[in-house]
Amino acid sequence: MRRISKFYGSSQALKDVSLKVESGELVALLGPSGSGKTTLLRIIAGIEDADPGSGKVLFDDIDVSSTEVGKRRIGFVFQHYALFKQMSVFENIAFGLRSKPRRERPSNAAIRAKVEELLTLVQLQNFARRYPNQLSGGQRQRVALARALAVEPQVLLLDEPFGALDATVRRELRRWLRKLHDTIKVTTIFVTHDQEEALEVADRIAVMNAGKIEQFASPEEVYERPANPFVFRFLGNYNLFHARHDGGPHRHDEPENATPVTFVRPHDVEILRENPDGSAIAAKVTHIGFAGAAVNVELLRHDDQQPIDAELTNQAYRDLGLKQDDEVFIRLRNSHSFYEDYAI
């Protein structure tokens, strides 16, 4: 089974976006706020309509653009859960089944069995009789997920599912989501602005900016081979080199007059005490920020007075015995050059 979801928009929020998701895939829509990722998700869900005359949403090659949200067989999980406050956890999960037209509605026993199965799936077996305001944020989000899964959707859509949770719960829950997806294999699209979350959880990531998809590829691909400076910038910290520099790999297809912009991740900046072959750049340590497993070192280049951020492992930091105002040399392990035709 192949599931295609395609969409061409022409509103300001989305500009001719086209996205094809394979069946059973877990896809992240990643982008800064205002990039149109939530709008795209809501259009796929049918909660919002695309502009008249713009493209279509296809599920399994079937056009669902004019199908209303309730009939699309989607499961939608909201950022703030949107659990029904006056219903117990059990009734929340049963809501989709109980709302079916009479002839499609399963028997009470079947509903009970289904809800209990889902409660087990989201590890909330003992919470059936509780009310949403008696649950923690993470538990509420799991109930919301179970509620969406109850109607056996073809596509599961999650809008910033972990956005309202604190960091620890968020990390725990996204691993859990990944495992859950591996178990139930339902095609899932989730929206996030957290690159770490997208990289860790998704099979493929669609990086969005200003209503467009900049790159749609696997986490490794978008991280290691970003399609453009935006993707590079969005996926982590970076150093910028405007002029050509020594020590980094050069691209052979550089046009004569263009000045390349080179991006380097802080962890790809190597700090040396010596300059054995003369190719390293001399710099001075201006600040050391100890962040546990990693140590962030701020440096200042001697030649053009540009600041550089480096990230060392705790081990490397101790081996070097770095102190503030130390004179060192830096070398770039891995860099990406783009030409200045790209405005962000």
Binding site: A82, F84, S99, Y131
Partner: protein
């Protein structure tokens, strides 16, 4: 022992004032009412209450008030919904108009409604007006007396001169209560809940019945209760539209006024006390339901 922190500085003073104020304006008159009633013996009291004219008045007042409150419950909800959700031209104007029944002297409302709905009013006598107009035109065309008088009286406002007029004015005076209690709840309401219900396949009615209504129920119920309480005490507007025939179309407040005119003060206060007790019981019952429905939401597992 932990000191009780007070939100308002000098609360004992404000508390004392509030209690004094309530006593002076609410408790004292109520007590006087009850004391006045006790001047009657039990048998006199019962005789006052079971007088067929009085019983009919109670039946009319309660019946009309219940119908008016129910109608306001339904239409007030719809009006509140439309005012919050449907942007339309002049919404603010209509929104302001809702408070109109609060501000308008009830006697003026009564006279206005009588002018419209009674037999000789625009709406009340619609069929007769139509007959007159048709005959007037026909006379010009050379066919005098085309229609017999009363030929179209079926088009008259069907219930003019009966007690429906009472219900209509009671609906009018009670309208703002439901709208104004439900409106803020709907404004706070996040449409995500409806989107969630729709995404789960629920149709509009199911969504309303199972998701929206339970949320606004407590506010709605207090609105209905207030509309009801207002209706049973309403006097000014009703006496103009009702035909005020004893035993048929006299409301309790009018009965009370008549008793007072006849210097039967104790009988009048007795009826007042009964009305008061009914109102209290209704409000108590409604508060109970409200409390119960809120408790259910916060039920401890």
């Amino acid at each position: 022992m932990a000191r009780v922190t007070r939100v308002i500085p000098g609360l004992p003073l404000t508390l004392g004032y509030a209690l004094f104020y309530l006593s002076l304006l609410v408790l004292l008159p109520l007590a006087a009412l009850v004391i006045k009633t006790t001047q009657l013996s039990w048998s006199e009291l019962i005789a006052t209450i079971v007088d067929p004219v009085v019983v009919a008045a109670f039946r009319l007042t309660l019946g009309a008030s219940i119908i008016a409150a129910a109608v306001n419950g339904v239409f007030g909800l719809i009006v509140a919904w439309v005012l919050v959700r449907e942007p339309f031209l002049g919404r603010r104007f209509f929104d302001a108009l809702i408070d109109f029944p609060f501000a308008l002297p009830t006697a003026v409302a009564g006279i206005t409604f009588s002018a419209l709905y009674l037999k000789d009013g625009w709406i009340g006598g619609f069929g007769d007006h139509l007959v007159a107009a048709a005959n007037f035109l026909a006379a010009h065309a050379g066919h005098p007396n085309l229609l017999l008088p009363g030929a179209l009286s079926g088009l008259d406002f069907p219930f003019s001169n009966t007690n429906t007029g009472i219900v209509i004015v009671l609906i009018f005076v009670g309208l703002p209560f439901v709208v104004r209690t439900v409106q803020p709840v709907l404004q706070e309401w996040d449409t995500e809940f409806e989107q969630a219900a729709h995404s789960l396949g629920a149709n509009g009615w199911t969504t309303f019945r199972r998701v929206v209504f339970p949320e606004i129920f407590p506010a709605w119920l207090s609105g209905v209760a207030l509309a009801f309480a207002r209706a049973i005490g309403e006097y000014g507007s009703v006496i103009f539209i009702a035909s005020n025939i004893p035993g048929k179309s006299q409301i309790v407040p009018l009965q009370i006024v008549i008793k007072l005119d006849e210097f039967q003060t104790s009988q009048a206060t007795a009826m007042g006390v009964v009305l008061l007790v009914i109102a209290l019981l209704v409000l108590l019952a409604i508060n109970g339901i409200e409390f119960w429905s809120r408790r259910r939401q916060r039920a401890v597992a």
